[in-house]
């Protein structure tokens, strides 16, 4: 380890201490608070099974919200990502689109939800709109990055036939990046289910609404049911996406690695 690195580590530790002091992060408080957790956990294990159907129904609503948000978000993001890709457009096109997308990304989904609750009132619709906005900002960036890494070779070759840009996108860009785009879409759906689960915190629908209310009224046992349902759902979706990825995506990506040369 060089002296330069030692100084760097020293600086990071110093910043950590100063920042912790500033935000009042005291490890002693954490230790002293642990018994409270035991109380919560104790109440949580006293689950009330009769709430399971409600929880599952709420989760189902959450999944539907995430699904609509993901599909609509992607449908809007895809054309935007084509316009934001540097290898397909001039600076005058991609620069403003990228700035727009960056602006959208500065808001986390919960803030979008808050904004839409104010706009359209509380409920699932506000949550769906929030997920759409978040998905656009997030997935468009992932996608234009994928598009920018595709092989320029088939683009040049097919481009030199004198085809239009739309043709180039439909016949070269999308097939060449399809497996990556698909894998990102799955990831986004997965991620959006987790996000939608907490949007209820600000009244934007979904299962989070129940969780936050039971916690507010110290009904940890009921909250626990809903949290377990979220956990199980996320695990199942995770497992399904891995299966889909293995079956369709890994296979075709393997093919992409075979060079023509």
């Amino acid at each position: 380890m060089t002296p330069k690195n030692n100084i760097l580590i020293g600086i990071i530790i110093a910043l950590l201490v100063v920042a912790s002091y500033n935000v009042d992060a005291n490890p002693i408080d954490f230790v002293e608070g642990l018994p409270n957790l035991v109380v919560v956990l104790d109440e949580m294990v006293q689950v009330e099974p009769k709430y399971i159907p409600t929880a599952i129904w709420a989760m189902f609503e959450t999944i539907q919200m995430a699904f609509i948000g993901t599909v609509v978000g992607i449908a809007i993001a895809l054309p935007l990502s084509m316009l934001a890709a540097r290898n397909l457009n001039s600076k005058f096109v991609y620069a403003p689109i990228r700035a727009f997308l960056a602006a959208i990304r500065t808001f986390p989904s919960i803030l979008w939800a808050l904004l839409f609750v104010i706009m359209v009132g509380s409920g699932a619709f506000a949550g769906v709109l929030a997920i759409i906005m978040y998905t656009i900002g997030f997935i468009a960036k992932l996608q234009y990055e994928v598009i920018e890494t595709i092989d320029s070779d088939p683009m040049d070759a097919v481009g030199s036939i004198g085809v239009s840009k739309v043709q180039l996108i439909t016949y070269v860009v999308i097939p060449e990046s399809a497996s990556h785009l698909l894998s990102q879409m799955l990831y986004m759906f997965d991620y959006n289910i987790r996000q939608t689960s907490i949007l209820g915190l600000v009244g934007a629908g979904g299962i989070g609404f129940y969780i936050i209310n039971y916690i507010k009224f110290f009904e940890y046992g009921k909250a626990a049911i809903f949290m377990i349902v979220v956990l199980v759902t996320v695990l199942i979706i995770d497992w399904i996406s891995v299966k889909i990825r293995d079956k369709y995506i890994i296979k075709s990506q393997h093919g992409m690695e075979v060079k023509t040369k």
């Binding site: 070779d153 088939p154 683009m155 070759a157 030199s160 060449e176 992409m256």
Partner: protein, 274 residues
């Protein structure tokens, strides 16, 4: 400009249909410092099987890219069928539809099938709606199948391109170019990485197509022997300059600077550069 000068000692109409590619004192560079080509003069007759040979880095690929408008010269004049090759030139853009270009790395779309790759050559002939919905007309599909047979890929129509051998991939690239109903075929070292037998099969295929379709084929080669075997004309490029151009008719070789030469002499001249 060239055709006007030439028309002075011959009939204008005859000359104007004969020359398909003309370059006059063409210079070009990728960066501001070094020239990849320095003062190239070329004149290629319609229907010629033209070869460009030269050592690595001499500017062969660059020369082809100038002919399909992917690069523009920093100095000098290029005319393809009397049109300046530039992507933003409307007249040339239309001409690109019938210039088949096979880059050194082939430029195939790897995740789609053989027939889908070949059909790309017909894209300029599709209507907007057909192209948007990937609905190729029946006659184009028939044509694609005919070409698949011609290049010897029967039975592999639905195979994904990444699963093909090197020789088969080259056949797909040729088929895509033929699907364009080309008047000019530009091929960059298409047989360089193949074994001798396959290389000759591919060369026969192109030469046959070139003769039956009255194509002008311009092919870059690494191997002088191969170029002499198939081409009517061979240009040798070295360090961005054309150092030799010869006409080939059977065993007779004509050097345009010094008169008749033997194959042996040409090979010796070339081996100095390799």
């Amino acid at each position: 400009m060239n055709q006007i000068q030439m028309s002075q000692n011959s009939s204008f109409s005859l000359i104007s249909t004969k020359k398909i590619i003309q370059m006059s004192d063409v210079w070009t560079s990728y960066d501001s410092k070094n020239f990849a080509l320095e003062g190239i003069n070329l004149s290629i007759d319609r229907g010629t099987n033209y070869s460009i040979v030269g050592p690595s880095g001499s500017g062969k690929s660059t020369l082809l890219k100038l002919m399909n408008g992917m690069m523009i010269p920093s100095k000098g004049i290029i005319k393809i069928d009397y049109v300046t090759p530039q992507m933003n030139n409307k007249k040339f853009k239309k001409m690109m539809h019938t210039i088949g270009y096979i880059p050194q790395s082939l430029g195939l779309v790897k995740n789609i099938s053989v027939i889908e790759n070949i059909l790309l050559g017909s894209l300029p002939r599709l209507t907007k709606v057909q192209s948007l919905f990937k609905k190729f007309p029946e006659n184009e599909i028939t044509e694609a199948k005919r070409i698949i047979k011609l290049v010897g890929l029967s039975g592999k129509e639905e195979r994904k391109v990444y699963m093909l051998s090197g020789g088969e991939k080259r056949r797909v690239a040729i088929a895509r170019a033929l699907m364009q109903k080309p008047t000019i075929l530009l091929a960059d070292e298409i047989v360089s990485e193949l074994d001798n037998v396959t290389a000759r099969e591919i060369m026969e295929l192109i030469t046959d197509a070139q003769k039956t379709m009255n194509l002008t084929a311009i092919m870059v080669h690494h191997d002088m022997q191969l170029a002499l075997e198939y081409a009517n004309r061979v240009a040798v490029i070295k360090e961005g300059k054309k150092i030799l151009e010869i006409g080939v008719e059977g065993d007779n070789i004509v050097d345009f600077q010094t008169g008749d030469m033997t194959t042996q002499e040409i090979m010796e001249m070339y081996s100095d550069d390799a």
